[in-house]
Symmetry: C3
Subunit: 429 residues, 3 copies
Amino acid sequence: VESKDGDFKLNFRGLVQADGYYFVDDEDPNNVNGDGLVNRFIMRRVRPIFSGTLWKDIDWRIMPDFGMGAARLFDAYADLRYFRSASLAAGKFKAPISLERLQSASALTFLERGFPTQLAPNRDIGAMLHGEFDGPWETESTRSYNLYQFPEFLAYQVGIFDGTVNNGNIDSPTTDGKQVEARIFAHPFKGAGLDAVEGLGVGIGGSWGHPNDSATPTYATAGQQTMFKYASAARIDGTQYRIYPQAYWYWGPFGLIGEYAFSQAGVANQSTVNTGTGPHTVTKYSTIENDYAWNVTASYVLTGEDNTFQGVRPRHAFNPFEGKWGAWQAAARWTEIAFDSDVFRNVAKPGSSTPIYAFADPRQAVRNATNWSIGINWWLNQNVKIMADYNQTSFQGGGGVYDSKGTLTNDVVDRATEKVFDTRIQVSF
Amino acid sequence: VESKDGDFKLNFRGLVQADGYYFVDDEDPNNVNGDGLVNRFIMRRVRPIFSGTLWKDIDWRIMPDFGMGAARLFDAYADLRYFRSASLAAGKFKAPISLERLQSASALTFLERGFPTQLAPNRDIGAMLHGEFDGPWETESTRSYNLYQFPEFLAYQVGIFDGTVNNGNIDSPTTDGKQVEARIFAHPFKGAGLDAVEGLGVGIGGSWGHPNDSATPTYATAGQQTMFKYASAARIDGTQYRIYPQAYWYWGPFGLIGEYAFSQAGVANQSTVNTGTGPHTVTKYSTIENDYAWNVTASYVLTGEDNTFQGVRPRHAFNPFEGKWGAWQAAARWTEIAFDSDVFRNVAKPGSSTPIYAFADPRQAVRNATNWSIGINWWLNQNVKIMADYNQTSFQGGGGVYDSKGTLTNDVVDRATEKVFDTRIQVSF
Amino acid sequence: VESKDGDFKLNFRGLVQADGYYFVDDEDPNNVNGDGLVNRFIMRRVRPIFSGTLWKDIDWRIMPDFGMGAARLFDAYADLRYFRSASLAAGKFKAPISLERLQSASALTFLERGFPTQLAPNRDIGAMLHGEFDGPWETESTRSYNLYQFPEFLAYQVGIFDGTVNNGNIDSPTTDGKQVEARIFAHPFKGAGLDAVEGLGVGIGGSWGHPNDSATPTYATAGQQTMFKYASAARIDGTQYRIYPQAYWYWGPFGLIGEYAFSQAGVANQSTVNTGTGPHTVTKYSTIENDYAWNVTASYVLTGEDNTFQGVRPRHAFNPFEGKWGAWQAAARWTEIAFDSDVFRNVAKPGSSTPIYAFADPRQAVRNATNWSIGINWWLNQNVKIMADYNQTSFQGGGGVYDSKGTLTNDVVDRATEKVFDTRIQVSF
């Protein structure tokens, strides 16, 4: 719905993703998850999306999500776009760090994003300045649709945020220490007349903050099983920064997207004591944690349509009566995440027969996970996509052994390889 | 909102139900619920409903519910309707088993459905093939609006689902063992020229699955009080199947709807032990549970309008200034549910003075509940309905007795009869 | 969207509020909150609002809220408006008691309402009769938009409700004892031709009920910190009534709004014992609690536009390219709340060295809070508002002292003064 002069607009859009997971070889009695993983159908994302424009220069968006058995807010912001090179957005939206995170959930090549996205916040709350600039070869400027402005030539985002926990989407920050998040991204050859590299985009994102006494994240496998969790008394505490070099390259039916993530954060094992007029936090152990992750995803549109960061638009919508078959896309991915070995440190006194893991228990949290995936996507039309993936993830550590009395022993073993076949039916508009 | 060629549609609809409950005779000191049931106003259902059609053949729907103090997803699906006899729906929607469950919540004759609907899932997640066929007397085919296709002649649904707990609407299945759910329904005389039986519909629904280690359901009275719950260590485990013969008959202002439910499921009292690399489930006691329920509801539109499965459309909308009074409907119902006596088995050693109820405690869970209800519905217009019901439910078992020290004794008594007068103001469009 | 004859309407509106809180002087080691309050960005309100009219005389509204990390229902009702002097609304909506509560959240002068609103329910569920009447000077009657009908001359509301806890928005009442809530409000000089007092409105609201065994409320400061909570075994139990005299006065750019709240409620310290066939509540201690609060807020529109209860409509929307700056409003407020000293009674035996607080612990709950605030609001246009407030709140009581071993001593101290600078970016339409 739109006013006559176009200054006021109201849009309703939606996203529904119905997924099925089937775990292969998960009945292994030595599987760390016990009697087998749960094959299941789930609603991954169910999102009514309300957005609009007011007074020509002010955009807004409200997007709750009803998937995964919860009702949560994902996006809610106002964006004051008076100046193309310096717009001001305030509210809750995607953290401007990871490239794959900024890809729309409806355009993903695989059901789940690669590991690097898990080392940064999902959504964060704050205020962000952002803008875009024309390149030497551009003549006309276009107004891009979304906050992150995958631009004609160059765009930036820089903002101050709550500093939500990694992979998190929380609404009540527990830490005083706000976080600066920033990103710059360019299509250096856009409009230069070199076909092969017109669709090359490169950039870098990152963050810097000083969280204190902040909640710890958990990390999940491609099959959405928890693979890493911190000890219950562990907190993110101290300086934290992230660096995310990132790039994609789309050339006709071919697409390549990848990024690297480096994250450093202070981790502390803390307890609370009462002194004076209230509770105070005392740190018993602390360390500096260095983690990294990377991801490379390649895809090819078998039916010849253009491959883009926004997905594939079939030349002909599927219509069985007219022999039209939509677009078919094949894809492969390699992604890895590695956690600092120091977080698995045993702080028990030397000679003690029982280990004390102040930060993370290596029998429950993996040191390293390596995943490869292949997939096929059928775009019936630009609104309906059917996806089928196979993901295999192998682990270092993350498993424990119980003795005959049911007591956890000190042994650390590798968690069994996760093999999961998963499918999705998606409607987006 | 609709595109010019009608291939793309977007609809917004809604449902609001504000209910009031008044319990009669509930101050009885011997009432098993103690000091009295809570008379209350509640928002029973509050549903914004988004639906639409894409590319002519693809329907979708998103329906959250904000009633009862929670925000939950009820429907979210895509339905690929290329072929009238074989459409494919995927996502979350009503389980195709119970007839009364498939009746729209806005069209119910009484505030709450009868007991048979409680023996099957409410919503389930999965994929379903469904279709409809013309009868010998039909000439034109109509495209029915909803998934379950109350058809001109014959319709079927068959799908594979998570196998949600009875009466449940959950999003994270806890069991590996998926469930097949199916239903067939016909209007055998539709178009045959026999007025009296044109509106007769008969069918049968059912399910078959093999849940393991699955959560247990609870069951509620007409007054929305819990009347049956399992022991905390009990799980649905082993083969489970349901059979639901069902029928309705609408003839002018007269309507009759009824169904019978038979449910068999394995029930196990389980605990978890750690062996090898993880937790394993051990069954201590198990049984096969056979439950049944039935429901007959009759109604009559006093003002002469047609009675239908979709509700009543008043000839004249209520308008006090023009002396128009809408439509008035009177209704009566009898419904019963009975639980297998074996689930109340005492597994304590013979001679033990304290019973151990491995599956369900007969002092907290009833063996049998019989309910009769009468009601009057005032349809001010096709969008607004005011309902008033009286429900009386008598029980076998389900009550315990405390001695003077406040200790629960071994005696099992019948729960006090529940008498509830309830009303609803409903807006639906 | 509207039907041709205007009898059917469907509206979509929205409200997004992104707030930032910065606490000054909160690192004081003697602060009762310990190591400092959490400076934070939050989404205060995120509301898609669906409303409409059916059959000309029936209004409805559905408004969930996704702010503060929760998805909750705020409004859901049907309003049968056949008679202007006697409309019937049923469902969930604002309790018709406090004037400032009835002001739209998008029109507030400060980020948070004054203390009097906290002594009454926020939303309540029930049925309400309401109507409006023309004054001696009015000739044309207008149909007001919202339930509370800030009328041309005189309006009333009276209804029966669940009797939700103070400051609460709950959906499952725990108490049998319903509550009558009523309010009358007039613009005595509307249309009389006296410019200065045309915009003067005066009224009184109140409630009367008899809650039993009802949950207790908590109260929050301007910085959204809990300042008063009851003991865990305390319940609101016995007769409860409230009186809210209230007024506002808008004259050109000047606005004044104020109200006084007096609340009396029975409070009981209760436990549950099992006797006969179920649990019964036993009262160990009880008292009658008398609380009061008041609020005066003054504001002035510096750019000369009219100040109204519905907010400010700028003469010129902000446009930096044309030198238009919207409307600017300055405001000041004084508000106080005081709790009955009897709720802090120590019921321990005389001579006991450890106090027992049956109703509220004075080391955790304040006796009195006094707040002053100043603020500046920038209305960029009628849909976007940027607010900046400074709030300072001083307390009596509400703080405890821990000895060197971390044990809470018997001393009661005043909680440290809360100083908070907060800002909001709001989009509403």
